[in-house]
């Protein structure tokens, strides 16, 4: 027994840093969830803090919390409805391009925004949409219209989030679909042409079925993220004017936890959302097993 472990001593030594890092930065925070049921102040010990039962869950009665949940679902569902089909469409369009140089150019350019931070994207929006001197409002002004305060209005916030999300990630998300398309047997297209099938018929009967497995995997993988709207995108665009529609679970936790020091309450919110996403991941896996014959793990 000892010999068996000794034989692999180098391997254990290599794995050890990863095990320690996960223990420090994943497992101890998991144990820290008890803060959700305790009266904890920063600077004191978690273990010595007093238990308060479900006292920290009083946010469930907070009407503002209900709004936050609604905002989260609203934004994530909107992003999904537009964000899921967009890369499929774009991949189909790119695939129709016959000139290889142009094709590669389009791909390179459309991947590019993925590599910039949401902060940079927020600046791009600001430079185009701001009231004083923003390009869009300059045009609206020239056309004789009233300037629109895109960045500080409740009705423009959601379109802004959806649009910037599409702009940043659609190109990048085509990679998988384009790769799936290249694995389709070209002979299928040849024989379809012989039988007189037009381009649209070829897309419908060959390309789409060919990438269907990829589509279903991407669909399954995106279900668990349905209740999380990235802080990364929302926070830079949020301000006091649009907060009523922009406030999502992540920003709510951040504000109440790190910024205002309601650690117990913010942890309780986090725990609830972690549990929901865990449920989503596990049930998604079950679903995938049923549909695909194999799960994600």
């Amino acid at each position: 027994m000892y010999n068996k472990f000794y034989k692999y001593r180098w391997q254990y030594l290599m794995i050890l840093p990863g095990v320690i890092l996960l223990f420090l930065f994943s497992y101890i925070p998991m144990a820290g969830i008890q803060v959700a049921f305790k009266d904890f102040q920063i600077g004191t010990s978690i273990w010595n803090s007093a238990w308060v039962g479900f006292g920290n869950f009083s946010f469930l009665e907070d009407p503002q919390f209900l709004t936050v949940v609604q905002n989260t679902l609203y934004i994530s569902v909107l992003k999904f409805i537009f964000g899921f089909p967009a890369p499929i469409l774009l991949a189909l369009l790119i695939n129709e391009v016959t000139r290889p140089v142009f094709k590669r150019f389009v791909q390179s350019v459309s991947y590019l925004p993925h590599f910039f931070s949401w902060i940079v994207v927020a600046y791009i929006l600001q430079s185009f949409l701001t009231l004083d001197g923003g390009l869009v409002n300059q045009f609206i002004g020239k056309a004789g219209g009233e300037p629109v305060f895109f960045l500080g209005s409740t009705e423009w916030f959601r379109p802004m989030v959806v649009f910037s999300g599409l702009w940043k990630e659609t190109g990048w998300n085509t990679i998988l679909y384009l790769a799936a398309i290249t694995t389709i047997d070209p002979q299928l297209y040849e024989s379809a042409k012989v039988e007189g099938a037009g381009k649209l018929a070829q897309i419908r009967h060959i390309t789409l079925p060919g990438i269907m497995p990829t589509i279903s995997i991407v669909l399954i993988l995106s279900i668990p993220s349905l209740i999380t709207v990235g802080m990364d995108q929302i926070y830079p665009l949020m301000n006091s004017a649009n907060q009523s529609v922009a406030d999502v679970l992540d920003t709510y936790i951040l504000r109440n936890g790190l910024q205002q020091g309601y650690f117990g309450m913010a942890t309780a919110v986090g725990l609830l959302s972690s549990l929901i996403s865990l449920t989503l991941v596990v049930s998604t896996n079950q679903l995938s097993r049923k549909l695909n014959g194999e799960g994600l793990w």
């Binding site: 068996k4 472990f5 692999y8 180098w10 391997q11 254990y12 290599m14 840093p17 990863g18 095990v19 890092l21 996960l22 930065f25 994943s26 101890i28 925070p29 998991m30 144990a31 820290g32 969830i33 920063i42 978690i46 774009l90 369009l93 129709e96 391009v97 390179s108 350019v109 459309s110 991947y111 925004p113 590599f115 910039f116 931070s117 902060i119 940079v120 927020a122 600046y123 791009i124 600001q126 430079s127 185009f128 004083d132 001197g133 300059q138 190109g171 998988l176 790769a179 037009g198 802080m231 830079p236 301000n239 992540d250 936790i253 936890g257 790190l258 650690f263 942890t267 972690s274 865990l278």
Partner: protein, 298 residues
């Protein structure tokens, strides 16, 4: 092959649509570049769309002369280099160790690792732990928590498992130990994978503003993106001019009144985004490969 009239038209429409898409990506950068290279007061009058009308470098002089920005650049470069090299090292070592199928307790360790992908303590307990470890307000808060990426490790593990076992076995027969096998067989064969993962890690470090905004309060520890984030909602120029030590630029006070917050902001964005724009063309071949390898089902 002869295309019908309808198909020809469709092709033109597709090319036009895709060209439009490319413009929508490239134009914002050209626009911001033009604004940043233009006299601020002049740009505010409108009409600068593609080329600077009243060319000036004053915005860049002010931005690059700003002590805070220069320092934040140093922090960003430092964390990107250290974080990427360290992250690749830890990820590679763990993946290689776990690639030995005969390793006792292997599946236990794998589940220990996998569990962290399913459930987490959330932001607040994570913050409390960082505070407990004394990492808040230190440079290492950028490095240590992200040193081991479970996701990258699984991608790497899958890649190593794809390397023919015969290679490793014959090296073992020659008396090579695991360290030698790693250095002389695995690393050379994994170069494209390491390049892709390294690129993603580096971009992640370069673009991260969150840690700098919430885990750090010392202004001399913030990275460029956090500086950008603070400047985003700034209402006046004091955020940029406050710690400016470029006296020469400031001394030209006749120009000072022509500087606007917007033109300065655009210059800061360009300064933070240019490195990515510059390395992007060279790294492209790696990341497509990386994504595809990483998405292999399993």
């Amino acid at each position: 092959m002869k295309a019908s009239r309808g198909e020809k038209i469709a092709e033109y429409i597709i090319v036009a649509l895709l060209a439009l898409l490319c413009i929508s990506v490239l134009y914002p950068f050209l626009y911001m570049l033009a604004i940043s290279l233009n006299d601020g007061a002049d740009a505010a009058k409108g009409g600068v769309y593609l080329w600077p009308r009243n060319f000036t470098l004053i915005n860049y002089e002010i931005v690059l002369g700003n002590e805070t920005i220069r320092h934040s650049y140093l922090i960003t470069v430092g964390r990107t280099v250290i974080g990427t090299i360290g992250g690749l090292l830890v990820t590679l070592l763990v993946a290689f160790g776990l690639s030995y199928r005969g390793l006792p307790l292997r599946s236990t360790i794998l589940s220990y690792i996998l569990l962290t992908m399913l459930f987490s303590g959330g932001l607040v307990p994570f913050y409390i732990q960082l505070n407990h470890l004394g990492l808040i307000n230190t440079f290492w808060v950028y490095i240590l928590p992200g040193l081991f990426s479970v996701w990258n490790m699984f991608v790497m593990l899958k890649f190593i498992q794809g390397i023919p076992e015969a290679l490793v076995e014959s090296a073992e027969l020659d008396g090579a130990g695991p360290v030698r096998i790693l250095m002389q067989i695995i690393v050379p064969l994994s170069k494209p994978m390491l390049a892709a993962l390294g690129l993603f890690t580096a971009v992640g470090h370069w673009n991260d503003w969150f840690a700098g905004a919430f885990f750090v309060t010392k202004q001399d520890l913030i990275p460029v993106q956090t500086f950008l984030q603070q400047l985003l909602s700034a209402q006046d120029l004091s955020a940029v001019l406050g710690s400016n030590n470029n006296q020469e630029a400031l001394a030209r006070s006749s120009q000072m009144k022509n500087i606007t917050l917007m033109s300065i902001k655009m210059a800061v964005v360009m300064v933070s985004a240019l490195p990515i724009l510059c390395v992007y063309p060279f790294l492209q071949k790696y990341f497509v490969k990386g994504v595809l390898l990483g998405s292999v089902k399993g």
